[in-house]
């Protein structure tokens, strides 16, 4: 792996910074453990996705410009989120005024995508075991925007970069739900269409429960935050973690549900 020592800019989604710092810390640890010089540039903000998704280009522009400006000089930019990376990668055209954007674009990676495509599955070393049955949440932007796995609608060969990376953790059993379907988060969709959104989320959780799963992992904390909120309200026994937390060995490997945030 001659990529070792390359400079990686860590992008941490705004809500992850304040609500799920362990997912970000795990991402940092995993990248460092694989030999990268990781930096978290100060003064990061939102990638602009909520504004882009609501057609508010003028509001998104300064945020897109900030993102491009902060990350343009890194060899790679990695984030524990497919949807923020998707926004920066596919939705900044005609939005950012920064001329460096076309050069930055191919350097943007979601964590699993980076581990799979840049580090290479054969070079992955995770110093932990996780002997649990994990329900994989395949978020839409990971599957249908970044192409991290084959979407069920297409007649193409099956693959999943997320599963390939996660499967490198010793003892893990990965279970996918019966439906390849949106969880209903969708950013502001979750409040604009609150009732449909809640029904979609509960249906996803039920699908995982039917698989005998009590822990769900995904590459987007936002989807998981939505489902976690529903599960907590309903008193459903389900733990929600970012894939990075398992890769970094920061989730208890036994089935006891513990709040990983306690230590902060």
């Amino acid at each position: 792996m001659d990529e070792t020592g390359k400079k990686v800019g860590l992008f941490v989604p705004c809500y992850v910074n304040d609500f799920y710092p362990d997912a970000a810390l795990s991402t940092l640890e995993v990248l460092e453990a694989h030999g990268f010089d990781v930096e978290y540039p100060e003064n990061q903000s939102c990638c602009g996705q909520p504004f882009l998704n609501n057609g508010m280009i003028d509001e998104a522009r300064p945020l897109a410009d900030r993102f491009v400006g902060l990350f343009a000089d890194y060899d790679y930019v990695v984030a524990p989120s497919s949807s923020c990376i998707g926004a920066a990668k596919f939705r900044y055209d005609g939005v950012t005024t920064d001329a460096r954007y076309p050069l930055l674009r191919p350097k943007l990676y979601e964590l699993c995508e980076f581990l799979h495509d840049v580090v290479g599955v054969g070079n992955l070393r995770f110093d932990c075991s996780f002997p649990r049955r994990v329900g994989l949440h395949n978020s839409c932007h990971a599957i249908r925007e970044l192409g991290l796995a084959a979407p069920s609608e297409l007649n193409i060969s099956h693959y999943s970069k997320i599963k390939a990376v996660l499967a490198k953790v010793e003892g893990i059993e990965i279970v996918e739900p019966s439906r390849d379907e949106c969880c209903g988060f969708g950013g502001t969709f979750s409040v604009q269409e609150a009732d449909v959104s809640a029904m979609m989320g509960r249906d996803r959780i039920a699908d995982h429960i039917a698989n005998g799963v009590d822990i769900m992992a995904g590459v987007d904390m936002s989807c998981l935050m939505h489902m976690e909120g529903l599960a907590k309200r309903d008193g459903t026994k389900m733990q929600f973690v970012h894939v990075a937390q398992i890769l970094a060995g920061r989730v208890e490997g036994n089935s006891e549900i513990e709040d990983q945030r306690e230590e902060f």
Partner: protein
């Protein structure tokens, strides 16, 4: 046109649908079943994705040369003895159909499925002139008897359970109200429709594909009702939106292979009927309707004109399956309906581009590869400026203003993280907290990642 109707609110309509959780789940499962059938059918064709690309290319080409192909169709059809008429809008279309029926003294009409006639309000118009119109597609007949509207373009009565049908049929077809056996009900509809077919003075059909080179057209049904309807009367009026044209019969196979597999998972529709000329002694009319379609040419909605009305985007849409077709308040529901409605009248349909979680599943099932979710994403730029979204726009504008000042945002969030756990539950879950209506608010971390990172260095 605009301003005639108040804005519709998809979220409000959807909430009414999801309130009956059992029924909403039944609706979702029924359509997911169709989506799974579609997947199996699509995966049984090794060249499926190439077929979709070919269909996309042919449709885009045809739309780029729409004038040429429509005129070619007109001249070829006339040569075959078909009378071709043009309608600029719904009103002209209704007038033309009524005039033809009047000329021929037709009082009883059988009509096979045509979303165009629904779009143009043909039935109520003809009925107001004393003409009896019978929809002969089973689903459409159920909806018609119920005084309802289709909630899906391929499965018009998918929002009704068999018990609902038993109830409606008992009123109009005098069946046993307690017998909801589908076979029993279908037999009753069949007997009833047979009489209508025998009595009809005229048949109206839709058109799935008009063939420019041959001057003929193709009608696809599963029930054979278009064929039964056109068999006896000497008058056949076929109606098409102007986007239904394809260059020639050579291209047809690509679309017939895609259409039924995408729609219901069948290899092909049970009946794929070709019409080339009037039957001996009969009259055959084709009415080409614009009604706002040509306005979409060379706009960001261009690709929406490629739609072949298979309904696959509805079956796969997680929102449509859980909110029902009527929640869209437009003749065509689901992702393609949201695109078309928004393109037609954004002020009224501004909530439709937002009735989408941007999951993009619709793009992947669309047999002609319409960029549905990207169109809805772009359409939000127009939708957000509609007056009814003023409050949302102001809130987001304020959020962006804060986000553009990371230091201020950091202080604010630190305060939130500190204060939130101290607040009484009733204050956090107040009536403005839409997130918290069904969900718990995430637990704030004691320290943010940026704080942890700084200490770690």
């Amino acid at each position: 046109m605009s301003g005639r109707f108040p804005p519709m609110d998809h979220a409000k309509n959807a909430a009414e649908f999801t309130a009956d959780s059992e029924r909403a789940h039944w609706h979702d499962r029924a359509l997911w079943f169709v989506r799974q059938k579609r997947d199996r059918a699509a995966k049984s064709v090794p060249e499926w994705e190439s077929l979709r690309e070919a269909a996309e290319t042919i449709k885009m080409h045809t739309m780029e040369h729409l004038g040429f192909y429509l005129e070619r169709f007109e001249s070829q059809a006339r040569r075959n003895g078909i009378e071709v008429l043009w309608a600029a809008d719904a009103e002209e279309f209704r007038h033309i159909v009524a005039e033809i029926l009047r000329e021929h003294g037709a009082e009883k009409v059988v009509k096979s499925k045509s979303m165009l006639t629904e779009e143009c309000g043909l039935n109520p118009h003809l009925e107001s002139l004393g003409i009896e119109v019978t929809d002969t597609d089973l689903g459409e007949r159920i909806v018609q008897l119920a005084g309802d509207h289709p909630s899906h373009i391929v499965l018009p009565a998918i929002h009704m359970k068999k018990e609902d049908v038993a109830d409606i049929f008992s009123k109009y077809l005098h069946t046993d109200p307690d017998n909801a056996d589908p076979f029993y009900l279908t037999r009753a509809a069949r007997d009833h429709l047979r009489e209508k077919f025998l009595d009809a003075d005229a048949a109206i059909t839709g058109i799935n594909f008009a063939l420019a080179e041959e001057g003929g057209f193709v009608v696809c049904t599963n029930e054979g009702n278009a064929d039964l309807g056109t068999a006896l009367p000497n008058l056949h009026i076929a109606c098409m939106g102007l986007e239904k044209i394809i260059p020639s019969a050579q291209d047809l196979g690509i679309f017939t292979r895609l259409l039924a597999r995408s729609a219901t998972g069948q290899a092909i529709t049970t009946y794929t009927s070709h019409f080339l000329k009037p039957k001996p002694g009969g009259r055959l009319y084709v009415i080409i309707v614009d009604n706002g379609r040509s306005r979409l040419l060379n706009t960001r909605h261009n690709k929406a004109l490629s739609c072949i009305r298979c309904g696959a985007c509805m079956n796969t849409c997680p929102v449509y399956r859980r909110s029902g077709g009527h929640s869209y308040g437009y003749v065509i529901p689901g992702p393609i309906g949201s695109v078309l409605a928004g393109a037609r009248e954004i002020e009224r349909f501004a909530s439709l581009p937002f009735a989408c979680s941007l999951c993009a599943s619709c793009d992947n099932v669309c047999p002609v590869r319409i960029d549905l979710h990207a169109q809805l994403y772009r359409e939000r730029r127009a939708a957000i400026n509609v007056p009814s979204y003023g409050e949302k726009r102001r809130l987001l504008h304020l959020a962006a203003w804060v986000m553009q000042r990371p230091k201020l945002y950091g202080v604010l969030m630190k305060t939130v993280r500190f204060v939130l756990p101290l607040l009484p539950r009733a204050l956090v879950y107040n009536r403005f907290n839409v997130w918290g209506r069904e969900r718990e608010v995430p637990e704030p971390a004691k320290r943010s990642f940026s704080e942890i990172y700084r200490e770690r260095r």
